[in-house]
């Protein structure tokens, strides 16, 4: 299959502007700005069925249409804070096919009427930010960015902005706080960013992978895009495969590809030929899928089908856990992550992740009694539905699902 997003795998030099242009690059942006009304661009994206790739799966075209037309200026923001354990797809796109991502940002900015777009990158992506700055300057020199683009009235400038190490800044309102020079702590919503976002103005925030789809959709049409994937989730997705597989990496596949194909056909199977015990399809934020029946691996990966396994597809960061792994160790890892990354603004998350980490540490190191396991479940359940943003909720997912689905590991840890 020819790639739609990871096109550098067929066209190795696509990260050069001239090569990108030779392969049809920036024609979709030019066509949009010179021949289409913003609303028409939004309609194409709506019709394509594109859903946000950051994890929530919200319909992209619909989000764009929410930008409040009574309040100006509008801002476009690319969320390049990729930090979910198990996710490394946006990085590959920005390193290797950067112009397609940038063109997506440009088309989106035109569609929502933004004259300024910010790319918020996690601070660790320092080298990527430098490289994007150079690409942006090249496009400015060739007249794709700047004032009165292609002789129209439309102007656009793109700026990169580096974070400094905080998972929470992937949450869109925390990202905006950070971009405004504050601690990355989520805002109370509503108002949502499309009505009040950056500097209090309407702001549309999309994930890197989401943007990278847009030029191809504009070039080839909504029907072409919908011919791939499933009705629930049209198009292609980059699955970041990690954990105990022979060939971890990014695999761009249509939605609806089965876990089995991802793990065995593309990922080369499980290390040491062991068997899959659990799957975390949405990184550390996942509910663990218990693979106690081989047919579970035949589940097609889209939002709806994964939900039937009492988990979520999220950003499709698929972590494979084999039968050498004990779940008391695993949740001790995930809980410590969330405790470290909790921003401290709301009490259930700040206190809950703290207490959960004490309990998981105690259980994992063999210091716990049976009542500690019950208490852990109790703390996790008390947090659910009470946190200001999704981070707190996510921190409980692996805990509750592993206690419910892999109880024997905890019983063993307590007895030992």
């Amino acid at each position: 299959m020819t790639h739609v997003l990871l096109r550098h795998r067929e066209i190795p030099d696509i990260g050069k502007l001239s090569v990108y242009q030779d392969n049809g690059g920036l024609a979709a942006f030019k066509n949009a700005v010179t021949k289409m009304k913003p609303g028409e661009v939004i309609d194409v994206v709506k019709n394509s069925g594109l859903r946000g790739r950051g994890g929530a799966g919200f319909p992209t075209g619909m989000k764009w249409s929410f930008a409040d037309a009574k309040s100006w200026p509008h801002y476009m923001v690319a969320n390049a804070d990729e930090s979910e354990p198990g996710t490394f797809k946006d990085r590959e796109v920005m390193e290797n096919n950067p112009f397609q991502f940038l063109e997506g940002v440009m088309i989106g900015s035109y569609a929502v009427g933004a004259n300024i777009a910010y790319i918020y990158l996690r601070g660790e992506f320092w080298q990527i930010a430098e490289s994007l700055d150079r690409k942006i300057a090249e496009m400015e020199a060739e007249g794709y960015l700047g004032d009165k683009i292609f002789g129209t009235d439309y102007s656009l400038r793109i700026y990169t902005h580096l974070g400094a190490g905080a998972y929470i800044c992937g949450e869109e309102t925390a990202l905006l706080e950070s971009l405004e020079g504050r601690r990355g702590q989520p805002r109370v919503r509503p108002p949502f960013p499309p009505s009040e976002g950056l500097y209090g103005k309407p702001t549309i925030i999309n994930n890197v992978e989401t943007f990278t789809n847009v030029p191809m959709i504009m070039a080839n049409g909504a029907e072409w895009y919908k011919s791939m994937g499933t009705a629930d989730a049209p198009g292609v997705k980059i699955f970041s495969l990690s954990g105990r597989v022979r060939k971890p990496g990014n695999y761009e596949l249509p939605f609806g590809t089965t876990f089995r194909d991802l793990i065995y056909k593309y990922g080369g199977g499980v290390q040491d030929s062991r068997s899959v015990r659990a799957i975390m399809p949405a990184g550390a934020s996942s509910s663990l899928i218990l693979v106690d029946d081989d047919s579970i691996l035949d589940t097609p990966m889209d939002y709806l089908e994964v939900r039937k396994l009492k988990s979520e597809l999220g950003s499709a960061s698929v972590i494979i856990v084999d039968d050498t792994v004990s779940m008391d160790w695993l949740i001790n890892k995930t809980v410590h992550f969330f405790r470290h990354e909790s921003c401290g603004k709301c009490t259930p998350c700040r206190e809950g992740t703290f207490w959960m980490s004490h309990l998981t540490e105690r259980i994992h190191t063999g210091q716990a009694v049976r009542a500690d396991v019950d208490l852990l479940l109790n703390v996790a359940k008390q947090m659910q539905g009470k946190c200001l943003c999704a981070l707190g909720e996510f921190s409980t997912m692996a805990v509750v699902s592993s206690l419910e689905r892999f109880r024997e590991d905890f019983d063993k840890a307590v007895q030992a």
């Binding site: 996710t87 400094a164 020079g181 470290h340």
Partner: protein, 165 residues
């Protein structure tokens, strides 16, 4: 000497990215410059930046303390920040980190005697398919080093030592 006097062009370029009423957005990029300058963010740098952006020192300190890439104390000139999060841990990151520390005769979080290298465990760096891996945070760059072994890391440290003379 203030940052604006020392690096007028760079500071101006950062400020120009944001609208006048959004001047505070320049805080994080300015902190990176201050850190590059001194190896950490000093009290004096915080005062300087606060004055430049018309905010209080407390607001600046609150931001410095929140983000893990800002450092308030001078430690190793280079920081080897090993990801030991779940996906890397499933591929041997914890063993790598332990062996590396043993080799350097330090514990996680400590700095080598010559003050060159601090080894720390950090959270996910979006390189889960290339573990064991770390980022090398130096004075003016952050570099990724992937598919690492202790031998390769010791070679890298040797090169850093040489370049420092």
């Amino acid at each position: 000497m203030s940052l604006a006097e020392k690096y007028p062009q760079e500071v101006q370029q950062i400020l120009s990215k944001y609208p006048p009423h959004g001047k505070r957005s320049a805080l994080m990029p300015l902190l990176f410059i201050a850190q590059r300058d001194e190896g950490y963010i000093s009290k004096a740098a915080m005062q300087d930046i606060a004055a430049l952006l018309d905010i209080t020192e407390t607001e600046v300190a609150g931001v410095v303390g929140f983000y893990t890439l800002y450092h308030e104390e001078k430690e190793g000139k280079y920081r080897i920040q090993v990801c030991t999060d779940l996906p890397c841990a499933l591929r041997g990151a914890e063993g790598f980190m332990g062996d590396l520390c043993d080799h350097l005769k330090i514990k996680a979080g400590e700095t080598t005697e010559d003050g060159l290298v601090t080894v720390e465990a950090v959270m996910c760096l979006a390189a889960c398919d290339r573990a064991p891996m770390f980022q090398l945070q130096g004075p003016d760059a952050i570099e990724y080093h992937e598919h690492m072994t202790v031998e390769k890391t010791m070679e890298l440290i040797g090169e850093l030592k040489q370049s420092e003379g």
